[in-house]
Symmetry: C2
Subunit: 302 residues, 2 copies
């Protein structure tokens, strides 16, 4: 299949690239673990070339490469200054930066992230492209979007703009607490899915009920193991559910009645979905990769 | 000075011992870093002997050794089963356990911790002794006590009993987030005290205002450094203040109007004090070591 241009999602831990055919279909998809966290600025051109070498000829016509994500961070390939909220999603390509690249058929551009100033400082890189993908898939959508992940985002979209957003470090809290805190003593071992699920539901309820008590309900992970004999699988579920519940509970002031798209991994999105159900909010899961690819495509043809 | 018995606070990271004279004064005080986390069960007798060897003769009359803290944990010297809430502080010695000890003049006993069951599982070891110390210092005291630390405790004391309590992992959250999370990029370097102080006040306000949004206000540490140029000292203060503010804000439902004793380290207690002031609550700082030693003494003579 002919390749008209290249779409790239360059994250912290991984990089993924797709060859896009003239009709918009993905002609190929490749990925590697050469995310931003492993790379120095000078590494990017070679990493990009190697990633594509099995799929495209070194010689040939110039190929646009549209990149979203952490490659545009200050510590990435080339800093792509943030658009400020309210940020128009149709402006992404217009504000893309052109990083240094040795002579090659590849012509990379890196899309900007979005920031929010004025007391509620916040930043995103990559999610803005998924949000453009969301409104490309569902042009009438307006409302609140939830993007579960290491750094979960809650976003208000209106008029094809990001009006405001908040980043919750829910996933990262789970990681650092499971590995480095006293709670780790109550986790570990092989996961028994039914026990994990029971812990998740209990955690979701606790978190949603009293998000303001998170610093103390977290310790229940440990005390529950000591006193009530909860299994490591239950505790792992509880910890995850509690954090996600607190995340949902803390954002209730702007979660309305409209259906909330969840853009994220399938497992995590299902837990958010269960939590949103507990507060009577409807949601639907949007595949994160589809949102990214659709967003990159929409940015390029915009 | 004659020594009538030995008082020991055996924590996770450290152990401290005092020789108590017949008149109740501390004849000597010694300490080491041989806390529970470094010791196997069999190590305790030798560590205790070495700790005291410079201060007391190996031969002599039998000496009672009263120990509080993590030596009584399951992974400590000898498990001292928890008293359950409501727990009478005057019962501590009665429920002490006698650990294995080779022939010696030392006769150790380990005081129990306190647990809470019934949906709000929680545990303490060591703090119960400080609380006994508090009411020995101030026999009329009843009300809410705050014990800042790695695992902060909020406790309701009435009728010389622990009625209920909650553990907040505030200090540990600060530790793991400063060292292991993305927020670490915004911290580090030499602390400038005035900047740290400004960050602490901002964090306290944010945390108290919206404890339910902790998962997202935490990320402001990072976004504030990226967007508003906040210094590492400011960010360290913000993170600490935010966590303490969220801790205070989350417990407002049982912080009344009465003065709250703060039992903890001086610096941390002052931050809690500043936060409590912001919600109009009075507090006073009680020296943690004095509370521990007074509590051990009160348990022994009870």
């Amino acid at each position: 299949m002919d390749v008209a241009w290249i779409a790239v999602d360059w994250g912290t831990s991984n990089v993924r690239a797709w060859g896009i055919a003239p009709n918009g279909d993905a002609a190929f998809g490749v990925s590697s673990d050469q995310g931003m966290s492993r790379l120095a600025r000078a590494d990017y051109p070679a990493v990009l070339g190697e990633l594509l070498t099995s799929e495209i000829d070194i010689d040939g016509d110039l190929l646009d490469v549209v990149i979203c994500g952490m490659a545009g961070a200050r510590q990435g390939w080339c800093e792509a200054p943030y658009l400020e909220t309210p940020a128009r999603l149709d402006d992404l390509l217009q504000y893309a930066v052109t990083p240094d690249m040795p002579p090659s058929r590849l012509r990379p551009r890196i899309l900007p992230g979005v920031c929010q100033r004025g007391g509620n400082d916040d930043v995103m890189r990559g999610e803005e492209t998924q949000l453009l993908g969301l409104i490309a898939l569902d042009p009438k959508f307006e409302g609140i979007v939830c993007m579960p992940g290491t750094h979960a985002k809650w976003v208000e979209l209106r008029d094809r703009q990001i009006k405001r957003f908040a980043t919750a470090i829910t996933g990262e809290l789970f990681e650092v607490l499971s590995v480095h805190s006293v709670l780790r003593h109550s986790l570990g071992g092989e996961i028994k899915e039914d026990e994990r699920q029971a812990g998740t539901l209990e955690g979701l309820q606790r978190g949603i009920e009293a998000p303001e008590k998170l610093t103390s309900t977290l310790f229940r992970t440990r005390a529950g193991a000591l006193l009530s004999g909860h299994s490591p699988s239950w505790c792992a579920g509880y910890l995850s559910g509690l954090l996600i519940g607190a995340d949902i509970g803390g954002q209730r002031d702007w979660i309305g009645n409209a259906e909330i798209p969840l853009i994220g991994g399938a497992t995590l999105s299902r837990t958010y979905q269960a939590g949103l159900e507990m507060i009577g909010a409807r949601s639907r899961v949007v595949d994160a990769t589809e949102a990214t690819l659709t967003g990159l495509r929409a940015s390029y043809v915009a």
